[in-house]
């Protein structure tokens, strides 16, 4: 997590360096040439395994100020096999638009939150790196960590292996927004069906030897002898994230597989990955209730041609609208500038700010002084 929001200037610096190097993933490729492996920041087994999205509380005179609102996590899991090999390049290219629509634009759909983004890419299970997964970032580090990825561009046959990325999202993620009873967002972008299962050997290869211990520590029991299926993983993910499968193209086998996993209303057909920014923002706006099917047109028109806008609206018209807004605490979230007594506190101490009913019964710990 960085400290500031993504600025155009900071993004340009990263994007221009990538352009000069000829690839959005030039730093990851350079590391491969040097035999250094994946950078720990994007290695799923790097640092703590568990990716955390934490609201930033800045210390101030013995208290803490919620500087940018409650952290809202968005994770994009991108297929980089075969024809999907250019997805990181595209994600890098559309990032400024995506960020504007989500966080900084005049009608940004997540304006009240501290928007944090994880970018994950998946390859083929035969690849050296089945998965790359960034940290939850909120400034130019979103783009910087894309440059550290290493898509091997192999595979392209079907089925593909997004299961490891979905596993990370479901079991190895800790998002502050879930502590309030709200959900984060997760998007898988691919044109192929999943494999339906994982192997424990590959799970350990991707996340390291401590994967099962860390999963348990994060509050989940995963039996290494009976790993969850794709459907079971997504079912778990849906408890904490509004999750969608963004299907590129119209392959019927792909639709059938993912519809059985996510349900019909969470599989969204889009023409190409270039639409990711628009579709993602529209889905989130509709889920948060900041947009409806009428206003979404106006919202997107500033960023895209009419045909593109119409295509996106058609794609998202079936999703569960207002799903976030009906969850408890949606209207009570702490606001930017609220004061907290301690780091890690859920609710602010300032008079007049929201407190859930459960907090009223909380007994203070023993403090003699």
């Amino acid at each position: 997590m960085g400290r500031e929001v993504l600025s155009t200037r900071a993004y340009r610096a990263v994007a221009e360096a990538a352009e000069a190097a000829g690839s959005s993933t030039h730093r990851g490729e350079q590391r491969q040439r040097e035999g250094k492996g994946l950078h720990p920041l994007v290695d799923p087994s790097g640092y703590d395994l568990i990716r955390r999205s934490i609201s930033y509380l800045e210390p101030k005179k013995g208290q803490f100020v919620l500087l940018r609102g409650v952290a809202m996590l968005i994770e994009d899991l991108l297929d980089t096999t075969g024809s999907m090999g250019g997805n990181v390049e595209i994600a890098m290219r559309v990032l400024p638009t995506a960020y504007k629509l989500l966080a900084t634009g005049p009608q940004a759909v997540l304006k009240r939150y501290d928007t944090q983004i994880i970018t994950a890419i998946f390859g083929d299970v035969q690849d050296n790196y089945v998965l790359g997964r960034s940290q939850a970032e909120m400034d130019e580090r979103i783009a910087e960590q894309m440059t550290l990825m290493f898509p091997e561009h192999d595979g392209g046959d079907t089925p593909e292996d997004p299961e490891y990325g979905l596993f990370g999202a479901a079991y190895l993620t800790a998002a502050d927004i879930n502590r309030y009873g709200l959900r984060s967002y997760h998007f898988t972008v691919s044109d192929a069906p999943g494999r339906g299962r994982m192997s424990s050997d590959n799970l350990i290869r991707v996340f390291g030897k401590t994967v099962f211990e860390r999963t348990t520590e994060n509050g989940f029991q995963v039996d290494r002898g009976d790993l969850p299926t794709t459907k079971e993983i997504v079912t778990e993910l849906l408890k904490r994230a509004h999750s969608f499968f963004l299907q590129i193209g119209n392959n019927s086998e792909t639709s059938r597989f993912w519809t059985s996993v996510y349900g019909r209303d969470r599989v969204v057909n889009i023409a190409n990955t270039e639409q990711l920014a628009l579709v993602q923002a529209a889905i989130i706006g509709l889920t948060e209730g900041t947009l409806d099917l009428q206003s979404v047109r106006e919202f997107l028109t500033a960023e895209a041609a009419n045909t593109e806008v119409e295509s996106v609206i058609r794609a998202v018209s079936g999703i569960p609208i207002g799903a976030q807004a009906v969850l408890p605490n949606f209207g009570k979230l702490p606001k930017r500038g609220d004061i907290f007594a301690k780091k890690g506190d859920l609710w602010p101490i300032e008079a007049g700010t929201a407190q859930p009913d459960s907090a009223k019964n909380k007994k203070p710990g023993i403090k003699w002084k």
């Binding site: 997590m1 960085g2 400290r3 920041l41 640092y47 703590d48 568990i50 990716r51 955390r52 934490i54 609201s55 930033y56 509380l57 800045e58 210390p59 101030k60 005179k61 013995g62 803490f64 952290a71 940290q135 939850a136 301690k342 780091k343 890690g344 506190d345 710990g365 023993i366 403090k367 003699w368 002084k369």
Partner: protein, 463 residues
């Protein structure tokens, strides 16, 4: 303008519970800065009432409270580990402005990976005669800075473009120093050979200095390296509270610990006091000695009250795990003779305003407090007083090390004379605290200022 400063000193061999004590002080006093002294190998555990847990090494234990960290000239840093610790705090604990909270004295000595490799290879070569080391390379860096001052790296050097030759010189020096061990790698314990080969391979890698320079340069753009007068001019001049957090304990002091089971660092509070005096500190000062309610030693070295049968009862929940470098953590009844020695080595009871007794909840479950009041076998008057107390032999240099080594050998032959103080009601914290206070007042002549009944700040009681 009100100024207050706490100095927290571990009266054992480390692992006394300084992390929790400092976190509590920072919770109570709104500490603006934690000043670090000692070495990068420290591991101070903090667990907060909100459920966060972290072992701090180079950042201060007030970080979760929003306190800044100042790495003083008395700290030996591991720059690569510092960067990693910062990333962990940022990504795993949301301390997004972690580098804004840090200042580093330009004179702080830096460990290189070559020192770390050397430290580990030497320990592997000691086989069944371990020194007990954390394996970070702090001692190696300190020794080298004394032997070859021109090869030493200070924090002010980190971003300099001309350090490559010096890094290469350090690498070559370590290859020379370790030539014998490298040549005899096949003589090591079978289970250590692979580790040793990997370490040697890294040391022999001619590209390693480039990698280090690159990493250090990146870190230098993130940290604020400050001039020597920053401590007095900025930190100590500011109103409010400061805590000095030292690594290690008195019993691992270079000249007052038990050679060779010591650090190369000085761990007595007098060195901190001298630094504060140089910096013109003129505010209130509170000096706390810290010990667990039982004896602990993580690493080799004499420990009179070692009681393996207490290990399971006392150590559950400890962040101290066995490792190849330090070995197993050992525990036993609190050694009051050892505590009195540590207090005297620091200058006597007048050096301290009081004690912080940690992990006392684990003593409570015994129903009584076992303590060692004296030793059986402490007869050699060169090392023990007529009352059986350890003598504090003042000095430095080789003769002092020899004396301390012999004292350590005598200690290994001593046996503890253990008494148990019953708790009228072991379930009542007041009752536990009363016994704790009375015993410490009677046996150590110091008041108890803080007792810890659990891991978080809410479990710690200030008296």
């Amino acid at each position: 303008m009100s100024k207050k400063l706490f100095i927290v000193t571990d009266l054992g061999g480390g692992d006394g519970g300084k992390g929790g004590v400092i976190h509590k002080l920072c919770s109570l006093e709104q500490v603006h800065t934690v000043i670090k002294v000692g070495g990068a190998q420290g591991s101070h555990g903090v667990r907060t009432a909100n459920g966060e847990a972290f072992c701090f090494s180079q950042f201060g234990c007030g970080t979760f409270n929003g306190s800044r960290t100042h790495i003083s000239k008395l700290m030996v840093i591991d720059p690569l580990a510092l960067g990693y610790e910062a990333e962990l705090l940022k990504y795993n604990h949301g301390v997004r402005n972690i580098f804004d909270l840090l200042s580093v004295d330009s004179r702080a000595l830096c460990v290189t990976p070559f020192h770390q490799i050397a430290s580990r290879l030497r320990e592997l070569a000691r086989k069944d005669k371990p020194k007990g080391t954390v394996g970070v390379g702090v001692g190696e860096a300190v020794s080298d800075a004394e032997r070859f001052p021109d090869l030493a790296f200070r924090a002010g050097d980190l971003g300099q473009p001309n350090i490559l030759n010096r890094l290469e010189a350090v690498r070559k020096q370590k290859l020379t120093d370790l030539a014998e061990i490298i040549a005899q790698v096949e003589e090591l314990w079978p289970e250590d050979k692979e580790t040793a080969r990997e370490l040697i391979q890294d040391l022999q890698n001619p590209n390693f200095p480039n990698v280090i320079q690159e990493s250090w340069a990146r870190l230098a753009t993130q940290i604020q390296v400050v001039p020597p007068d920053y401590l007095g001019r900025v930190i100590l001049a500011r109103a409010g509270t400061v805590v000095v957090e030292s690594s290690h304990g008195v019993l691992t002091d270079r000249f007052y610990g038990f050679h060779p089971h010591t650090t190369k660092l000085r761990t007595l509070p007098e060195f901190t006091l001298a630094m504060l005096s140089e910096s013109g500190y003129d505010g209130e000062m509170v000096k706390l000695g810290v010990t667990r309610g039982y004896q602990i030693r993580h690493g080799a070295g004499p420990m009179v009250t070692e009681s393996p049968e207490l290990l399971e009862k006392l150590l559950p929940g400890s962040s101290k795990e066995a490792n190849r470098w330090q070995g197993e953590a050992r525990v036993g009844p609190l050694d009051l003779v050892s505590l009195r020695y540590a207090i005297n080595a620091c200058g006597g009871t007048q050096t301290f305003d009081g004690l912080a007794i940690t992990w006392f909840d684990q003593i409570g479950v015994f129903g009584e407090w076992p303590v060692c009041q004296s030793y059986i076998g402490a007869d050699d008057q060169n090392f023990f007083s007529p009352e059986g107390e350890r003598r504090v032999h003042c000095g430095s240099g080789f003769a002092q090390l020899e004396y301390q080594k012999k004292l350590g050998e005598r200690l290994k032959q001593c046996r503890p004379r253990v008494s148990c103080y019953p708790f009228p009601d072991p379930t009542d914290k007041e009752s536990l605290a009363t016994v704790c206070q009375e015993v410490c007042r009677a046996e150590l002549k110091l008041p108890v200022k803080m007792i810890s009944f659990g891991p978080t700040e809410d479990d710690k009681v200030c008296l």
